[in-house]
Structure formats: C-alpha cells, structure tokens
C-alpha cells in the first residue's frame, strides 16, 4: 500500500481507531495485523517473506540469549546475517550478479551455463532492503548486548511489521521501537494533531514538489543526448531536490503516522541542503541508513582509529556499499563511490593539510573569504555532480523499453550527460524543457521550492510540527488551511496524461 493512495486514506483512520481503542494487551495484535495487511497488499508473497525474516531473527535472538559464550552466539548471529542477506541477495542482487558473470564470460567467449531468463523476471519485494537491515540491526544489537532478546514473538513481529517505516524507512532500531511498542497508547489529541501535521508536510513535499519535479527530471534523462549544460545543471539540481522531497516526504509521513499512534520514530532528514560539507551531509541525509552503516560496518572496519590509508579505504568502501544498497546496478554504485572518493579526499585534506595550516593567518583569511554558504554551495554541487549518475540506470531501462530493438548502454547515457554538463555556452533543449508542462507549472514549481527552503531556513533544526503547534490559534489555522490547499490544489495525484481511448 502506498502512502499517497486512496487505499491508505481509508486504512489509516481505521487502523488508528482500532489500535488506540483496544486494551493494551491486544495492541500488538493490531500492529501485526495492520503491518501484514499493509505489506501483503503489494503482494501476499511479500507478507510470506516478512514472516520468514521475522521467524529467522526471532529465533536467532532467542538462541543468542540462551547461549553464554560469544563464540556460540556468533553462530546464531551468522544464521541471522545469512538469512537476511540471503533474502536480500536472492531477490535484489542475483540478477545483477548473473548479468555481470555473463558479461564477463562473454569477454572470454565462454557461455554461461545459467539461462538468461532464470533471474531477470524476479519481483523484488518492496522495501526488502529496509526490512532486512532493520531486522538485522536487532540481532547484531542482541549479539553486542545493546538490546535484550525479545521473548514475545508477537512484540517482535510488531517490530518487524511496523508498517509506518516498513517500506521506505527510517530503518529503526529495536532498542528504540520495541519498548515503545510494549507501552500502552491511548488517544492523545495533541500527539495526533502533531502527527497529522507532520504527515501533511510530508505529503506536501512528495505530491506538490517531488512529483512535479519528476516531469522535468524524466524528460531531461529522456533527452540526454540533446541537452545543454544549463538543462543538465538545472535538471541535476531538480533531481537532487526531487529525491530529497520524495524520500524525506515519505519519512515525514512515516514519522507522523507513527506519532499519531503514540510512537516516536527517529528523524531521517535534517535539512541536508544546508550542509556545510560532505561529512555533515551524511549526518543530515538518510540518517537512519548512514548511522546503520556507521554503527555496523564502518566501526566494524575500525572507523577512524585505523591508519590513514585504511580510513580512506573504509570511507570509500562504505559509500560503495551504500550505493549497492540503493540499487543493484553499476551507475548507482559508482555514484556513491565517487561521493566516497570526495569524502576520502576531504578526510585527507582535513587530517594532513588543515591540521597543519589551521593556526596560520592564511587559514583565517581563507575562512573569512570562504563563508558557510559557500561551503554549502560547493557541497550541493559535488552531490549534484554525483547524483546525475544515480538516475542513469532507470533512464537506461526507460529508454531501452521505449525503443525495442535498440540497446543504449548506461555508459553512453552517462558519457553524454557528463559531457553536456559543462557546455554552458549553448541552450539546446533548455527553453523547450522548461516549458514542457507550460510556464504556469514551472512558476508554480519554483514558488513551492522557494517556500520549502524558506520554511527550512526559518525552522532551523526544530521539528516543523512543534513550531507550528506553538503558534496562536489564528496563525495555526491559517497554516493548516494553506498547507491543505497547497496539497489539494497543487498536488500531483495523476499521470497528467490524457489517453484518448479511441486510439
């Protein structure tokens, strides 16, 4: 079930009413039922996968609790890791690996024994990366002694089937979620009001901005070989904002929905467009994933305690892994690896150059003439540069689907996109691109992007719902009305294309 569907509009109030009205001992049952209904709605098969993950990690956790030696616990942890990553690999990466082996063997004129049709039509369970990582964090935490193993299968099932975060995160930790699930939750007007406002803010970002930006981004990639530098630059920025609004909008809805039923979920985005550097960016963007990778991979590899060379390798490796997590395709892996390389360069610069020159006057001058907003601009540009690759695989699939019989490789698209990036002296396909949906749509888009960033600049690191709810009644109602009207009147809830059925 999608958050921006009519189905969810019906599901949500019914779920909340049931959950908040049943006695405490039955609340977990509503959570589990709601979770399986929510997830099984995509496909009943997905619900089976969820059940398998739940059983695997519940068993692993319980067995680890029984074992006294770390050595024995490790075996159960291994079972959990193999189970989760096995599911993830089977559904998400098997086709990717198969294709790469095939391509590699073709270079040596060897025929791969596995027929091509075996893996290429497998349906990837929605949000399987989020599900497995969330569940995996539980068993690792139990192994490390951070969390106690859950003895009640029902509560544990509520944790894995906690629908607000199930499909698109944030990737929650058991130590935060499980204790809250066990508490009694009752109707609380202020919490519900606050949660609903946060959900509304999320829908605004998703339906009004992200989905409107999608027209322009899709079109830019479709015309990858005709566009000028201006279109690439603006399209890249639009894509960056689109991903942010789409993803953070979804997180806002998840946070808001959880809040309505009395559960606080971790923040996933904190104004990433105001980041001062690449490292700062990762503390603001998809926080639940970056902290997951930091806690369970980067620290495992030695974090910053290792040698300088090792740290550089670790940073690049973790970012490449992050790319692989985002999508089983090379452009995605490459885009994150490049970010990793930039971060590694920054690390080297900070530890080897800045440390030495910091006390000097020249550094103070540099600091003076290179203020925060310039750091922010450079950070955004670096991410924009890498994010152009992020979307190349999807573009390749669309382009090849639209032109059967011809094959365009992702490298061709990437080469053209990056080749165009610096052609700022031409305006090929710039005006047409801006006006693709008409001048009104473009102006509306710019106005709403401006409103979004202005709001983020004003609220700072505070939660938007807390700021709004602290205002007086008239201001509050004015904000509610403007938000609702913006969503209803300017939201994109359609394919906006009219197909004459006579064709």
């Amino acid at each position: 079930m999608l958050f921006n569907s009519i189905h969810f509009l019906l599901f949500f109030p019914i779920f909340c009413y049931l959950y908040l009205s049943v006695p405490k001992q039955h609340q977990w049952k509503i959570l589990v039922a709601g979770g399986y209904y929510f997830y099984g709605n995509f496909s009943p098969f997905f619900a089976i996968i969820l059940f398998v993950i739940t059983c695997n990690d519940f068993l692993a956790g319980k067995m680890m609790d029984k074992e006294s030696s770390q050595q024995r616990k490790k075996k159960w942890l291994l079972l959990s890791i193999l189970g989760n990553l096995g599911i993830l690999f089977t559904f998400k990466y098997l086709d990717f690996v198969d294709n790469n082996i095939r391509a590699l063997l073709t270079l040596f004129h060897i025929t791969w024994v596995v027929p091509e049709v075996w893996f290429n039509n497998w349906v990837v369970p929605v949000g399987v990366s989020f599900l497995t990582f969330q569940s995996l964090s539980y068993t690792i935490d139990v192994y490390k002694g951070i969390t106690k193993a859950e003895q009640h299968f029902g509560y544990f099932s509520s944790f894995t089937a906690f629908w607000p975060v199930m499909v698109n995160g944030p990737i929650e930790r058991a130590k935060n979620l499980l204790p809250q699930i066990k508490e009694e939750h009752r109707f609380d007007y202020d919490r519900i009001r606050s949660g609903l406002f946060r959900m509304g803010w999320g829908v605004f970002k998703k339906a009004v901005i992200a989905d409107r930006l999608a027209f322009y981004v899709d079109d830019m990639y479709l015309h990858y070989n005709q566009i000028s530098g201006w279109t690439t630059m603006m399209g890249g920025l639009f894509f960056f904002i689109q991903v942010y609004c789409d993803f953070s909008g979804y997180s806002d809805i998840a946070l808001g929905a959880a809040k309505v039923i009395g559960i606080d979920v971790m923040e996933n985005f904190k104004r990433p467009f105001f980041s001062k550097n690449l490292a700062d960016f990762w503390t603001r963007w998809h926080i639940s994933l970056s902290t997951w990778l930091t806690d369970y991979v980067f620290f495992y590899l030695g974090a910053y305690k290792a040698s300088s060379r090792k740290v550089i390798f670790n940073v690049i490796f973790v970012l490449a892994l992050c790319g692989l997590w985002h999508g089983a395709n090379w452009p995605m892996v490459l885009s994150f690896t490049i970010i990793g390389i930039f971060m590694a360069i920054r690390y080297w610069w900070q530890t080897n150059i800045v440390r030495v020159i910091k006390p000097s006057n020249s550094y103070r001058l540099f600091d003076k003439y290179f203020p925060d907003w310039m750091h922010t601009l450079v950070t955004i540009f670096l991410f924009l540069f890498c994010f152009l690759l992020f979307r190349v695989h999807t573009a390749q699939v669309v382009i090849n689907h639209a032109n059967p019989g011809t094959f365009t490789s992702w490298t061709t698209i990437a080469k053209d996109i990056y080749g165009n990036l610096f052609k700022l002296n031409t305006a090929n396909y710039f005006h047409e691109w801006i006006l693709i949906k008409g001048s009104i749509q473009f102006i509306v888009l710019l106005v709403f992007i401006f409103i979004l960033f202005l709001t983020e600049a004003i609220i700072g690191d505070f939660k938007i719902e807390n700021i709004v709810l602290s205002k007086n009644k008239i201001t509050r109602w004015a904000i509610y009305s403007i938000l609702i009207m913006s969503i209803v009147w300017f939201g994109i809830f359609n394919n906006t294309s009219f197909v004459y059925f006579q064709y």
Binding site: I6, F187, Y189, I192, R193, A207, I436, G438, I440, Q441, V444, Y480, S481, I484, M485, V488, W489, F490, G491, I492, F493, N494, N495, T496, S497, F498, V499, Y500, F501, Q502, Y503
Partner: protein, 360 residues
Amino acid sequence: MKKLIKNILLLSSILLLISLIFKFFLPFYWGDTTQATKFEYYKKNSSKFNAVYLGGSLEYRHLDPAIIDSIAKKNGIDLHSYNMGIDGHGIIQQMTDLEGLLKIENPNLKYVFLSVSSDPYFYPLNMHTTKWIAWQDVSSTYRAVKTIATLNDPIRNKAKFSYYYGLSWIENIFKIGAMPDVINYEITKNNTNTDFYLGKDKNGFYPYDEEMNNLMAEYKWQDTMLVESKRVYEREKDKRDSLTASVVKAFENYKSTDIANTAMVNLLMDAYKKCIKRGIQVYFMLPPRARTDYSLLLPVFYAMPVNSQIAFADPRKYPKYYDVNYGYNFHHLNHKGAVILSNDFGNQFSNLIISTRDSI
C-alpha cells in the same frame, strides 16, 4: 476524539467553500483546451450558426460543416453548421456539452446533431486528468451511474466505473491537483493561438491528417501516439479485418425486436425533448468505426424517432468507411474518408428535411 473530528470537518469545509468559489467563474470546459477553444469561438460567433454537431472524435474528425452546408444549400436548406465534437467525449459528456450549448444565447439555432457512438465507459488512464474531471458535476455523475447500472456487464465492472465517476466529481469539487490548469485557463482564455483546433475553415472540423502536420497536443506524447496509431493501423491487416467483421456481425445479428438499453435511450430522449421544447430539431447520428459494440448501439439508435436518424455505420452499405484507403487509424477516417462521409451525411440530412417537409 470529537474535537479532532470537528476540526477535520471544519478544515474540509473551509477547503470546500473556497473550492466552490471557482464554480462561479469557471465554465465546464475549462479543463480542455480544444473544447475551450471551440466553445469560446462558438460563444463569440453563435449567431452565424444554426446547426451544431455534438459528440466525440467520430464527429470532430469526420464531419466537415463546409461540405454538409453546401449540399444542404443545393437542396434548398439554409444550413450553417458548426462542429462541436471533441476527442474522447462519450454519451455522458455529450449531455453536458448539450446543456452548455443550450445556455449560449443563439436564437438562430435550429438543428442539433447528437452522436450514438459510445457507452458511459471511459479509458481509466484518463482518470485524474483535468480534461476528464473539469466537466463532472452532480447531474453528469448521476447520469453516468444510472446508465452504467443498466448495462449488461459484470457487477464489478459497473461498480468500478461508477466509483470512478463519483471520484472524478469529488476531484472537480475540490479542484484536486487542478489549480495550475485553472490559473492557466484564466490567463490564456483569450489567446487565439489554439485556434487551429477549429480547423482551417473555422467551423470545428479538424481531420487527423491535418493535425499530423501541426503536432502540438497538450501532452507531447499524444502526438507520438497519434502518428503511431496510423502506422499500427496500416500495418495490422488482421486486426482491421476482425474489427470490420465484428461490425458486420453486429449489423447482421440486429433484429428490430432487440431490446434497447433503457437508460441510454432515456438519456438521449431527454436531450431530444429539451431541444424540442426550445424549438430545436434533434438528429441522431450513428457513425462508422465506433469503439463501442454496435450490438449495444443499434437498438438504442433505432429507438430514436424515425425521422431523426442519420446512419452510415453499416459496412455492408458503406464499405468505404471501413476501407484502409479511407482510414486514419482503427477508429477514425482520414481526410479523404471524412469528405465522403460528410457528403453522405449532407445527402441523408437533406433527404430527411425534404421528406419531413413533404409529409407536412
């Protein structure tokens, strides 16, 4: 809980009230540039015309008022007709179009032509588009749901489409996702750069062959679809033949005792009576190449008053309309075909007028 529900209702009421304001200054055709162009032109020039063709693309792309008027003139009939057919308009939307047409002051209006070429179903991909939601109101939804209920289809299908109509109406009430198009309409309504939709004679006839040379549909990829539909039509002989065969079969199987769908008949007869009351004569057209099954359309068409029927859909009588040389795509004629059809139409209409005159 009560407070929350009260506040949600209050907020919805504020939104509803503000949204309803738009109803007072937006015409029902604001969501469709083609229709807005055609209606606005007619509004400004209504006194020039005494006959209007309503319907979908089967009228818009096929009926050339210039040819029909000239044939009528040769037969001593004073006819100045205007083609108000709009792509995608089915039987329900045609009723809204008629109501809109009758609201426009035109003391000269003598004839209205209604199309019998579709059922109330529509292509679900069109849901949520401004073009689809802009015209929906309480009466159109009521008409649609009532008509769908009487169709001989699985209940699931009927429930689905009734829900779609209801949802589209709600979307129009609240103007869901439609504000940029409202603004766009208000800003551009007096522009004349969409006048090409009126055709070169400014009488509302615009065949697909001409549009192909002037591709600038509201949504870019429709242009591609238009061109592609021609290619597919020319390429796929088997599909062409099977479509024609199914039309032939429907005509062969038709018996005058076949029971017509009452809701569709009532809908068209209501329109008929409404026009007669105003002294406007109504004619019903049964065009060729309709997408809807002719076994549903034929009993409805023949349930209309006998002296108001204009039919040219039977492939046995009019084989040219199903000939590939006169077709643009599976459901439309090309300009050449439209010329022949307009000639036939003019003759049939003139004969009807003459025979009615003689009988008096």
